[in-house]
Amino acid sequence: MSAVLEVTDIKKNFGGISAVGGVSFDVREGEILGLIGPNGCGTTLFNCILGQLTPSGGEVKLDGKVVTGLRPAELNKLGVSRTFQLLQVFPKLSVRENLILAGQEHQGSMASRLVGRSDAGLTEAANQMIGFFKLDHLADEPAGGLSYGQQKLLDAAMAFMGGPRLVLLDEPAGGVNPSMLTDLKERLVAINREKNATFVVIEHNMEFVMSLCSRVMVMAEGKVLAMGRPDEVRKNPAVIEAYLGH
């Protein structure tokens, strides 16, 4: 398996305090990589990889091309999408509009979107997504009025609208009902199999991570603590000590 994403020695300092201190790893094509670690361990790393923050050092390669410092929108155009840990929806737009928006920039050119269809041909796809996440009765509601878990689901749904190759999910399970979580997991696995999409999942819900991921990376204090198959990681004493507890 080739690497979709190669990260070399990424560093991030905030005014002298090191939040991420030289992290290297790669994400292989078609895998689901879990990323865990105690609070404040430095999963901010992903904001550096995705262009939300400028890394203080290091390099990021996507498909072998250097993409360090690219803006989030440019990365998204290259097929990388993400969700957020804190709620990030468009509060005054309806749920459906949120989803259409999430996909529209992947349809045609900027000029063609000016003259083309108002929904960029995405209503159908948005409705499917709405159906899957059981938000039908809220499709025309402003997204800001959704409950926490519903917004979290909408955020995840948006990440899939552009047909991405690589998706980074930041705590997708937080606040989501366990039965919905099972569906979400199945959905991820299905997309992973059918479209060969790659996922990186930051998550504190161990059941979710362990049953979903093929590899798990553990971070602590801005460094990689361990990396391996879920069962290996789970038994690693250092990980238990720093993160899992008993």
């Binding site: 905030f14 901010t44 904001n47 939300q52 923050l53 957020f84 840990q85 804190l86």
Partner: protein, 291 residues
């Protein structure tokens, strides 16, 4: 050289005035996230209240007290209850627009009910100059500067060192949560506006002898104070001092060395530069957010 020194002194004197007006402006922002476009008019009005009291026969000292009390009633209590309360929840803009309308209303009211003419205003600081390093510096300017510095120190201490100050900030940054943990949000906001009203009344008392009492005198003052506040750092009360003095000096230097016709442009260009290269202002704190 001596000319330059004179310019600096003159600039600081004007700058102190801007600073004094700007203090209340940053205070409102920091403790209620309100932008008050009528701040200049807020400084203009108390002088007229005092003048009105004097016309009605009150001695100067009584007029001052009445003026301050009335200001706190009108510009503090009434302003907060009538305009701020209904609009605060709806973000900065509606309230900002409402204060623009308020500015028009205040100006017109003074013009209509008092006079369109400028009036002289007695000074509580003795007029006259003291000599500093051989240059004449007016006592009035020193009074203004001292008050501005006192206001800044006092407010900074209040906001950053006392629990009351923290509560005021909390009420501005996240009113819902503040309410949940028991901060009396309403009272904090009211307090903010009362302090501001008190400050503008004092400012009015000190500034009007220099600027003359006129219904339009808030326009220039308000705008200069905004710019001073932004340049100094909007989210820090002490930014007002730095910004005010800097803008005052810059304005004078521009008039002397650039061109009188483009004098007003220089602080503006400086403002743009500051915002672009140091958006939080010279003394401001960067607003940082995690993603």
């Amino acid at each position: 050289m001596s000319n330059l020194f004179d310019l600096l002194v003159a600039g600081l004197a004007t700058g102190a005035i801007y600073a004094l007006v700007a203090v209340g402006f940053t205070l409102l922002w920091q403790t209620s996230q309100t932008i008050n476009f009528a701040q200049g008019e807020f400084v203009m009005l108390p002088a007229f209240l005092m003048l009105a009291a004097m016309h009605a026969g009150a001695p100067f000292w009584l007029a001052i007290i009445l003026g301050i009390l009335l200001s706190m009633l009108l510009l503090g209590l009434a302003f907060k209850m009538l305009l701020v309360d209904p609009m605060l929840r709806h973000g900065v803009l509606p309230l900002a627009i409402a204060t623009m309308a308020l500015a028009i209303g205040l100006k017109e009211a003074v013009k209509q009910f008092f006079s369109a003419e400028a009036s002289p205003f007695p000074s509580i600081v003795p007029t006259g100059d003291v000599s500093i390093l051989g240059h004449a510096v007016s006592l009035q300017s020193i009074g203004v500067l001292v008050l501005a510095i006192l206001a800044v120190f006092g407010l900074t201490a209040l906001l950053n060192r006392t629990s009351l100050g923290h509560q005021m900030q909390a009420a501005a940054q996240n009113p819902t949560v503040a309410r949940i943990i028991g901060v009396p949000v309403e009272r904090m906001i009211l307090l903010t506006f009362l302090i501001n009203a008190f400050l503008v009344a004092l400012a009015s008392l000190l500034i009007t002898p220099i600027y003359l009492a006129k219904f339009t005198s808030g326009e220039v003052l308000g705008q200069a104070a905004f710019i001073a506040a932004i340049v100094g750092g909007f989210n820090q009360v002490r930014g007002a001092i730095a910004g005010g003095l800097l803008i005052g000096v810059l304005d004078n230097l521009a008039a002397a060395y650039v061109s009188t016709q483009y004098r007003a442009a220089v602080p503006m260009i400086f403002l743009i530069a500051v915002i672009l290269f140091r958006p939080q202002g010279l003394l401001g704190r960067a607003e940082e957010r995690t993603v």
